[in-house]
Amino acid sequence: MKANSWIWILPLIVGLHAQAQQAKEIKVNDVPVVYRYVPNGLVSAYVVFYGGVANYDSTEAGIEYTAIHTAYESGIPGLPGDQMQDLFAELGIMVGPIAQRHYAGFSITAPAEYIDTAISIIGKLLTNAIFDEKSYQKVIQRQKAIINNEWSNPDDALRIWSITHMFKGYDYEKYHKGTNSSLANLTYQKVKDYYTNRLVDKSRAFVVVVGDVKENRIQNWSLFKILPARNMKVKFNLPDRIQFDTSELFTLHREGMATNYIRGIVGAPKLNTSDEVPYRLAFEILDDKMFVEIRTKRNLSYAPAAFYTTVMKTPYAILYVSSTLPDSAASVMWRTVKNVIENGFSEKEFRNTKELMRTRFYLQLEGNASMAGAYVRHEMIAGDWQRADKYSDWIKQTTLEQVNGALRKYARGIRWYYLGDTTQIKNKQVYHRILQ
């Protein structure tokens, strides 16, 4: 075993942001690689393939998740899954199989001296995994347990149900971890074929490397030479934009819960438009206002929130609350947004929220893995990894007028999703009021 030479990484990271370089995109064997040098003794990387739920139909929902996890479970010739995972752990290499709505692949974080080893194994895993039936069976059983346990958790259940319902007939209706019925449709052979002939595709590959590794080492990674090119095209079938002009209530009755969970979906501008950043700022301020109005002033909930989701190609905004007084909580949320539409945010609210977002921006830069993850998300979802670095400047440049204008433009109707004891809904009118 090679001795670790990164025990005291701290002297290296002192003064780090002065030494870290800007991210840039390079091409290695036609694969786009976003690279950022950070001299902190660690390297985080992502090797992902674009497409996610757009790559398969609803009867196969979950197949990418099953495939990538089966590959990881099974390992490679000469290094079966159990030995491979133990080796990773021993070397301090953290590998995560990923399969989300928009992409699938692996995330890797390793001490700088082991990143070459890690990438080499990942390359083999992508092109020559053992992919045996026993591993498949283990994964599919575990996957069923995961989706069923998610359904037991009210927050997960509400999120999955609302997205599935809202995007009925579109790609987001497919849940990337699958459903009990879609997983029942999968077979070992079908999943293996998917992995070996469809998923791994150089033409849809995207790689991010952030950390203490020089560019010439990356250029030499065999991964880029062995990925097959299948030239598969990806086209997401999604609505152009989420916009509700009326308000509606959808309920799912569930007994035995001590409180009720509510999501109110509000329309939003498309990504990469001039309204995106102002609208995001608007909901950042609203999030804070919900905390004050719902929790501080009225104590209607422990956990109110408002946010503009940034992880969907067709984005929307969410008003969220859990409460034993659902009508009152929803009513206050509605009133709070309406008041802002009518009166606008104050200069102070606007200025403070910008300061808060500065903190959040730097928190994202604090770790290699979170930085790398941000590049991947922005590229896969919005088609531009550089957004991750630009966002802070965009926020700085945004004006209060733009923020107020964006909210007035897009916040109209609310689609409420309610999970809990529906007998506690006493006044349905609350859920049918529009914002403007």
């Binding site: 701290l10 004050v292 034993t324």
Partner: protein, 588 residues
């Protein structure tokens, strides 16, 4: 390990200053020779209480990594600056020796409520609105947590606001107002947090497990607390908590990020130097009672409509750093061995299809940390899985249960995990104060070398003492529709079985009447040393002993409920299934 001479020196110094107010943080060390009280000395001697600061956890200037800078203010506040210039942020965190471990039933959950009240009005910011305005002005991302053995508060902000951040923290920690109206509102908010937990099926099995594990002292391991206690809390009780625990000599302040240590120390002196220390020994005045061992093995089944999959938990009382610090390292190493995919534990339980996943762990604690197994049984093999798991546990102590390679790999994994703590200063700070709370700062610093020194003998001692020398608690969460898959009779054999029931017995005769229907009653089986079978019918509010009556029942039904050659007694039948109880002496 800590040089014991330092502990002795500190004890001497503490005695010397107790007549006055000023201390050097030395009140933390429970000095038996100081006031108060004789009563607590007696109790110490009777071993009913834990010692908060045994010599091996006492330090003067702790050994810390080289970019950690330490200072103890004259009022006893320990201050650590972690210098890390990787991003222009600073995190200011204060942690207090408070939490569930300080709570009897009258305070159950109030450390947590106090934590919420921290983020409200104080003498400088007279309302929560003002407080929140300041948070926003400084660009602070904030939170607080309450756990069994720590309450911590933290603010992360751009590093150019570091001085204002420390001042803000200083005001919040020293001068909370506990406004009665704000408090009344916050009670409801905490209750809301409680309701969210209750809405999750896993909470119920976890809480029930803890009730058996910690028994009458469950409040000492239940940070979320009791609903009624929280709803009825008053400003007076908040001030009582403040008077007991919120002192500089019971706290640590850590500032991590893009800062200059000297400037930070000066600012801390300025804003927190006048914070008054306690003039009494906190944990001698409010000692921490010792947990009683689990009296017998317990199995229970929790049915929940909203559960979709079974979940299994098993737990033992484990070591604490105050009394058996070596065992805490051995526990970490052993359970990391079990996490390895090539280890027998994973092979025999997961690869063989009994469980979809299973993990075992120990939570390092100052006082008796829990050892836990969590597993998702294969729904088709629940019964076999639980029995197989017990078989595996019985094998843990065998020398060939793990290889030398697995032992060494486990150490490397733990040390690697430890190193990753350093990547993000805003996260490292939480980890550091956790170790301060459950042990001391040196536990964190010396962790790699301590882990490297763990031997097979250390692991054997840990297993003999805490696994084989202790009783356990087992719980199974199942959705009602899966109940038929559970062969209760087989699963509960050899354990005390606690089953949720729909019928409360009114008399022993009733019990007999229902004894043949295992699914409709709750009972505890106990076989005492003279081989008498005692059956306890349990009731939510009380326990009804019916030992003799049940034996009479058995006698009267000898033909049906006989003892077989293996000394397994059939005590109940359900269709063609039988409940066997093994006649054996307990504890021999």
């Amino acid at each position: 390990m800590m040089d014991k001479k330092i502990g002795v020196l500190k004890a001497f110094l503490a005695i010397g200053v107790l007549g006055g107010i000023v201390s050097c943080g030395l009140f933390k060390k429970s000095q038996k020779s100081t006031e108060p009280t004789k009563m607590s000395d007696t109790l110490w001697n009777q071993n009913q209480y834990y010692e908060m600061f045994p010599d091996h956890l006492v330090y003067d200037v702790p050994k810390l990594p080289e970019n950690f800078h330490f200072k103890r203010l004259p009022n006893g506040l320990e201050v650590v600056v972690i210098e890390d210039h990787s991003v222009p942020l600073v995190t200011v965190e204060i942690a207090v020796h408070n939490g569930a471990f300080t709570e009897d039933s009258s305070l159950d959950g109030l450390s947590h409520l106090y934590e919420h009240m921290f983020f409200k009005a104080n003498e400088k910011y007279r309302s929560q609105e003002e407080f929140m305005d300041r948070i926003k002005e400084l660009g602070i991302v904030f939170n607080g947590t309450t756990s069994d053995e720590r309450v911590n508060y933290f603010f992360t902000m751009p590093s150019d606001n570091w001085r204002e951040g420390i001042e803000f923290m200083a005001n919040a920690i020293q001068f909370p107002l506990f406004d009665s109206l704000e408090m009344k509102k916050e009670n409801v908010v905490v209750a809301g947090e409680f309701q969210r937990l209750e809405s999750n099926p896993f909470w119920h099995i976890y809480f029930r497990r803890n009730k058996y594990l910690w028994q009458d002292l469950i409040t000492r391991k239940n940070a979320i607390g009791n609903y009624d206690v929280i709803l009825n809390a008053t400003p007076k009780i908040m001030r009582e908590i403040q008077k007991r625990y919120y002192y500089p000599n019971n706290s640590i302040l850590v500032i991590a990020g893009d800062v200059n240590p000297d400037s930070v120390f000066n600012a801390v002196e300025e804003y927190l130097g006048s914070w008054q220390p306690s003039d009494f020994d906190i944990f001698e005045k409010y000692p921490i009672p010792r947990f009683k061992p689990v009296p017998h093995n317990v199995t229970f089944i929790e049915k929940r409509e909203i559960a979709r999959m079974p979940m299994f938990m098993k737990a033992w009382q484990g070591p604490g750093t105050t009394e058996d610090i070596e065992a805490t390292y051995a526990a970490d190493v052993f359970f990391t061995i079990l996490s390895q995919k090539t280890n027998r534990f994973q092979k025999n339980l997961v690869d063989s299809g009994y469980f979809l996943q299973v993990s075992a762990s120990y939570l390092t604690s100052r006082f008796t940390g829990p050892i836990s197994i969590y597993g998702i049984p294969n729904p088709q093999r629940i019964n076999e899985g639980i029995l197989k798991l017990r078989e595996e546990i019985a094998q843990w102590g065998n020398p060939d249960y793990f290889t030398d390679e697995q032992l060494e790999r486990a150490k490397k994994i733990l040390i690697n995990d430890w190193k990753y703590n350093f990547e993000r200063a805003s996260q490292l700070i939480h980890t550091f104060t956790f170790w301060w709370a459950v042990a001391n700062p040196e536990y964190f610093t010396t962790y790699p070398e301590q882990i490297k020194s763990v031997t097979r003998e250390d692991i054997k001692r840990f297993l003999d003492k805490y696994i084989y020398g202790n009783n356990w608690v087992e719980g199974l969460l199942i959705p009602p529709q899966m109940e038929a898959l559970v062969d209760t009779i087989n699963v509960i054999r050899d354990t005390y079985y606690d089953y949720q029931y729909r019928w409360a017995p009114e008399s022993p005769q009733d019990t007999v009447k229902y004894a043949s229907d295992i699914r409709d009653w709750l009972f505890l089986l106990k076989i005492n040393p003279d081989r008498k079978l005692i059956v306890t019918i349990s009731h939510p509010q009380q326990f009804v002993e019916i030992g003799n009556a049940y034996e009479q029942f058995l006698k009267n039904n000898a033909e049906q409920f006989g003892v077989n050659e293996d000394r397994w007694m059939v005590i109940s039948k359900q269709g063609d299934r039988k409940l066997f109880v093994k006649l054996q002496k307990i504890g021999s």
